[in-house]
């Protein structure tokens, strides 16, 4: 009984925490971009503009919830829910601290990959059901981009699994005692970060919604809270990928002096800021260039990484 209540409490904390961080990111990103772009960013509502998020929420919730008459209604409504659900699910398997985890699945890593693969549906279906040409182009780009980067994301993590000998995220963190995987698995890290950016379709890989080309890409026809779901989904995705980078390559909760959960949050925060910095500094490659990069550079790189890691492990016996 007590166990069940603790579980439920844990779920509430993780769910609330993830959503809180994601919405906070909206403010953080705008302020950081402002800082890097020689301007202020939102600074009017509340201290340092932090209540901007609340104001945005009120706006998004009270907007007309409109479905275009030409859209495929059921799919159109379903699509934004899918992205939020599939990104929230993997938070359940992330170990925030030694005992802080909703569930310790022994296939946690596979669960994460499976869930993020499902996210493609949301974007593709949104583009398809909108019955608009810009949305369709965005959806097609999203499908191609996310499917191919899914492949490299999975392959880049094989090295981590080989080294730790487990798919459980908790075990992977424990295996990094002494040496974080970012050093032996450097190439895996590079591929994973790039694939992570592509998965969350953030600049420089925001091709599905490339503003100067496709207006808003797959969510051109969305407004109100349905658009808000995509918006929050994107920030949840950033949080998730940052948390996974921390867990898989940077020793998760491990660190001296401070409590484990603080270390975890600090590291995750660092990678979130890195994501925002990427957005502030890089232009966007073309669609075919992105695919070429994936299949001609990332795929061989991750395969090499597996061969070398496996070879070394074999040699060591």
């Amino acid at each position: 009984m007590n166990e069940t209540i603790m579980r439920l409490l844990m779920i509430a904390v993780v769910l609330g925490g993830a959503l809180f961080i994601a919405s906070g990111l909206i403010w953080l990103e705008r302020r950081l971009l402002g800082l890097w772009q020689d301007r202020y960013g939102p600074n009017r509502v509340g201290p340092f503009g932090t209540f901007q998020v609340v104001a945005d929420m009120i706006k998004v919730f009270t907007k007309e919830d409109w479905v275009p008459p030409f859209a495929d209604k059921a799919v159109f409504v379903l699509a934004p829910a899918v992205i939020v659900a599939t990104i929230l699910m993997p938070f359940a398997v992330i170990p925030f601290a030694p005992a802080m985890q909703v569930i310790n699945l022994n296939v946690g890593l596979l669960f994460f990959l499976a869930m993020s693969a499902l996210g493609v549906y949301s974007v593709t279906l949104a583009g398809w059901s909108s019955a608009s040409k810009y949305s369709l182009l965005g959806g097609l780009r999203a499908a191609a981009q996310m499917l191919s980067y899914e492949v490299f994301m999975g392959l880049s993590l094989v090295g981590v699994v080989l080294l730790s000998g487990s798919f459980s995220l908790g075990r992977i963190v424990e295996a990094q005692q002494g040496l974080w995987f970012c050093i032996p698995q450097f190439f895996g890290l590079v591929v994973f970060v790039i694939a992570g950016v592509a998965e969350t379709h953030r600049l420089p890989f925001d091709l599905p919604e490339a503003e100067s080309e496709l207006v808003a890409g797959f969510h051109s026809e969305y407004s109100g809270m349905k658009f808000g779901m995509f918006f929050v989904g994107e920030y949840l995705g950033v949080t998730l990928v940052s948390a996974m980078i921390t867990t898989l390559f940077f020793g998760g909760w491990m660190g001296p002096l401070l409590p484990p959960v603080v270390w975890f949050l600090l590291k995750t925060f660092f990678f979130i800021c890195f994501f925002i910095l990427l957005r502030a500094s890089l232009p966007r490659p073309r669609y075919d260039q992105l695919m070429a990069l994936g299949w001609k550079v990332m795929l061989p790189l991750s395969l090499m990484n597996i061969v070398i890691t496996g070879g070394i492990l074999l040699a060591r016996g």
């Binding site: 971009l33 073309r286 075919d288």
Partner: protein, 581 residues
């Protein structure tokens, strides 16, 4: 052989075909040609002679029916004017064909120059002149449902001359229906060999088009099979307005043609008027004009730089460059009082003397910008993603550039060192030391490189202005200079009368024709003015660079993808007000 008089040569070759030679204030050889022989004459000039007149620089028409000062000119109701430019000779020639009748027709030149396409459509749209043999002779600037041809003299110039505008539901339906794109009308197919094409409306409202521009794309996947540009959303009839404004009060309208160019737009207009009236601006006015023009050139290029980076997907540069542009505007504001559209040049000089302390502002800016430009090189132009997106994209050869009437950075990016400031120095540019940057590939990236180096050269020019600003008056003493100088008006009756008339009615310019083209930020901006001896121009033709540059887009974007098209649009650096006028 290049030195032979082209007028004599044409008379020798075409004998009766050359009807008359007209004397103009700009000394451009102006020949009236028999309309039947026009195609032959133009083809000969285009390809029959050594260092040919390879560029169709401008094509326009004039409604001659109300013109009174026509002595010595052949009879005509309408004239079509072909303005050709020979890069080899650095000479222009103007060919006129007189047409008779209320709705006359002429032969199309689209077979000789590809860029005659839009120019002839414009002449048809504005004057009702039919061009036989034109593939798509339809409205280009006016809405498809427009009645009448605006630049004809009988067409009203003011809204008060026609009934009030109403848009009932039925008419709204009709107007919208008229805008529907039908691929068959443009000779496009809906299906390929094994694919169906998608037709995508890019614009009129689109983040990548920098204004109201509609591009209809025929797409195979994301690949552009063909495209049609729909312009005219920004048409404000500047040329018509020139016919009802006085010579002086038209100056503010010129500012808004290329709305990023500010006083760069005033300059060709006032120079053309001064050429017509025989006014020479005083030395100080010339140097001030050069300095302000170069400041605006930098401001315009900075906007291009930022938006170009943004089109390729970089979010941040545009903010830095707008900050820098703000620095330019601080100087412009201190000098002119205005910012984007100061309307600051006057016929015969400039509006005011420079304010005290201007030199400090300029000096600070000269120290401020170069390190920033170096930083941007690393941030934007050396970025490998941007290089991959822009190198080899939107490429055209020098020959194509000349064929399509490209001027300015777009022409120099193909390797031709062609700059009106050097080739035909005006306003004292021959006294300044500066280089003409060129590039070789003629792609998006090279067009960018040329513009960035131009900013550095503009800084050099501004520095020379700063060091050598002459003393003396800032406006000419000529009686036609406006507004006339005030100091002497209260001393003698002659000056007082001139002042009163020039301020109340506006100056009367001697009858004649005058063209002046300058190197504006985007290419050659020129004004072709016809005075009939009145207080307003009889016909004002504004030759803008963006019009011919934009016309080339379908040609250079064929076979590329949508993101490439956006990069091309960014690299061309057009302003839609400059296209539509």
């Amino acid at each position: 052989m290049v030195e032979t008089n082209i007028a004599d040569e044409l008379k020798r070759v075409f004998a009766e075909g050359v009807i008359a030679c007209q004397q103009t204030a700009d000394n451009v050889p102006t020949l009236w040609i028999d309309p039947e022989r026009a195609v032959d004459v133009l083809r000969y000039l285009r390809s029959g002679i050594e260092s040919p007149y390879a560029m169709l620089f401008d094509l326009t028409a004039v409604d001659e029916r109300d013109r009174t000062h026509r002595s010595g000119l052949p009879d005509a109701d309408f004239t079509v004017v072909y303005h050709l430019l020979s890069p080899g000779r650095n000479k222009d020639i103007r060919i006129k064909t007189g047409l008779r009748g209320d709705y006359p027709s002429a032969r199309s030149m689209t077979g000789i120059w590809p860029n005659a396409d839009w120019y002839e459509r414009e002449a048809w749209d504005m004057f009702g002149i039919t061009f036989e043999g034109h593939p798509h002779l339809r409205r280009i600037l006016m809405p498809p449902s427009w009645e009448g041809h605006p630049l004809r003299k009988e067409h009203p110039a003011r809204a008060t001359e026609i009934g009030p505008f109403r848009l009932p539901a039925v008419r709204e339906e009709e107007e919208q229906g008229a805008l529907r794109f039908r691929p068959e009308e443009w000779g496009m197919k809906r299906h390929g060999e094994d694919t169906d094409f998608m037709f995508l409306n890019l614009g009129p409202q689109h983040p990548g088009t920098h204004g109201l521009l509609r591009i209809i794309l025929e797409l195979d996947g994301e690949e552009i099979v063909d495209s049609v540009l729909d312009i005219g959303y920004h048409h404000r009839a500047a040329e018509k307005m020139a016919e009802r404004q006085s010579w002086h009060t038209f100056i503010p309208y010129t500012d808004r043609i290329d709305y990023l160019g500010g006083v760069l737009n005033n300059l060709p207009y006032v120079l053309a008027v001064e050429q017509l009236a025989g006014i020479t601006a005083p030395e100080k006015a010339m140097v001030i004009r050069v300095m302000m023009c170069e400041l605006f050139r930098i401001a315009s290029h900075l906007v291009w730089y930022g938006t170009f980076a943004q089109d390729v997907g970089a979010l941040s540069p545009v903010f830095y460059m707008f900050t820098d542009r703000e620095r330019v505007f601080q100087i412009i504001e201190a000098v002119c009082g205005g910012r984007m559209h100061p309307s600051w040049f006057r016929i015969g000089g400039v509006a005011h003397d420079l304010p005290r302390g201007w030199d400090r502002l300029v000096r600070e800016f000269l120290d401020y910008l170069p390190p920033r430009l170096d930083e941007y090189d690393g941030m934007v132009m050396k970025n490998s993603i941007l290089r991959a997106r822009t190198k080899g994209i939107g490429r055209y050869t020098l020959q194509e550039a000349v064929d399509w009437g490209v001027t300015g950075p777009g022409l120099r990016a193909c390797g031709l060192e062609w700059d009106f400031r050097k080739k035909r120095p005006y306003s004292g540019y021959e006294l300044f030391e500066f280089d003409i940057p060129t590039a070789v590939h003629g792609d998006c990236y090279d067009r960018g490189l040329v513009r960035i180096e131009e900013m550095r050269q503009s800084l050099r020019i501004i520095e020379q202005c700063l060091k050598n600003m002459p003393e003396g008056p800032y406006k000419s003493d000529h009686p036609l200079a406006t507004p006339p100088r005030k100091e002497r008006t209260m001393h003698d009756i002659e000056t007082l009368i001139t002042h009163f008339l020039n301020v109340s009615l506006g100056p009367v310019m001697p009858a004649g024709e005058s063209f002046f083209g300058i190197e504006a930020a985007k290419g050659c901006n020129g004004y072709y003015l016809i005075s009939d001896g009145g207080t307003a121009s009889y016909r004002t033709r504004i030759r803008t660079p963006s019009f011919s540059h934009l016309q080339m887009v379908p040609h250079i974007s064929r076979g590329l993808m949508i993101p490439d098209l956006i990069a091309i649009l960014g690299s061309i650096d057009f302003v839609l007000a400059d296209v539509d006028r």
